[in-house]
């Protein structure tokens, strides 16, 4: 199990166990993490699972693909550490991952 911490826009942190192979978005939905809506269900087609990856984890989670970058155009308050969490696969290397959510997914 890989521990993932979601910090909401009010600063509240929620640590949950994620199973390897799932996406960070799926872990969030399964654990009813607020501020992630994931309208399209993981198809990289809606930009409503936008998160900011904690700076310490940016390298490990990797860069957004071109398609993900295109979708991030639909998100708000996009930062260099912005990702769509349906595109981040949970792996043992991500144990301890911290992401925060924007105040609105649109």
């Amino acid at each position: 199990m890989t521990k993932i911490t979601f910090i909401d826009s009010f600063g509240e942190a929620r640590a949950v166990d994620g199973e390897d192979g799932a996406t960070v978005m799926e872990i969030a939905i399964r654990n009813a993490i607020p501020e992630i809506s994931a309208e399209c269900g993981g198809g990289c087609a809606c930009a409503t699972c936008h998160v900011y990856v904690d700076e310490a984890w940016v390298e490990k989670t990797g860069k957004a693909s071109d398609q993900e970058e295109d979708m991030l155009d639909f998100a708000y308050k996009v930062q260099p550490n912005s990702r769509l969490c349906c595109q981040i696969k949970v792996t043992p290397e991500l144990d301890g991952l911290i992401v925060s959510t924007p105040d609105r997914q649109g």
Binding site: G43, A47, T48, D70, D73, F74, Y76, K77, V78, G106
Partner: protein, 345 residues
Amino acid sequence: MSECIKTDAVIVGAGPIGLFTVFELGLLDIKCHLIDILPKPGGQCAELYPEKPIYDIPGHPMVTGQGLVDKLLEQIEPFRPTFHYGEMVDSLEVLGGPEATSFRVRTSGGEVIESKVVFIAAGGGSFQPKKPPIDGIDEYEGKSVFYSVRKMENFRDKNVVIVGGGDSALDWVLNLQPIVKRLTLVHRRDDFRAAPHSVTAMRELVAAGHIDLRIGQISALGGADGELSSVVVKAQDGSLEKIACEKLMPFFGLTMKLGPIADWGLNLHENLIPVDTERFETNIPGIFAIGDINTYKGKLKLILCGFHEGALAAQRAHRYVYPEKKLTFQYTTSSTNLQKKLGVN
């Protein structure tokens, strides 16, 4: 307002489930009008993932979203449904009682349709433009902030800011540039996902000094009484720039909202419509809810489940549309009657 249309069934939503229900209703001689807010059929399949493969449609090991929509349109062709695109159902009035159901539907396009049954196949709700969460944007909407262009004349000789990097944003940059006073395109990065020829045309306008391009995001609006006078663009490095602007057009794609369905007197549970699993009927007799918009014990939001729901709901609808006729169950493989309707016999 146009004259009242009379039909057997109104289907709200032309996604895969709405389309296939035309087939099931058609076999029972029930005529349909479909209403969809998108300018085309297919709902989420066509709007969100036209190119994405779907692997769980029975009989299709793989089909794309658009591929499925095209096949469904071909399948329902014999029944010649009437489509009303780019319109939303604003209101739904119950006219008849449970014994003789009848409804009046009014669309945002001014159509009035009376039908004996209504099928709500609205999926996740109607697609509506996403509104950027900029403080105070609501008060400018309709006067200074627009999510689509209805009259180009509204933009003549104005300072216009367009936000986005897709086809909608760039199409309007190219269309409006000749008539506006000054146009600024704002996008969060220097990459554009719009069609390459539009991007090239836009870059040429920038190079020639005819339009301005700013890489950044809108962080604030300035103005009073709904009349915009400026926007503030925040660049990646955090620097702020104020741009004079009377009209702002943000293009952030579409999102799904339940919309007016909430006001039709239907029972709702967390924005879904509870139905029974025999008839998929709502709390109002004659109104059915099928596909992603309904909920019941064991519900799975799968296209294939929606097809099943449409088939069963159609059986019940037959009793409302043809109360005096007995419905005999028939197969398309063997019934010459059904084959005649399909135009294959």
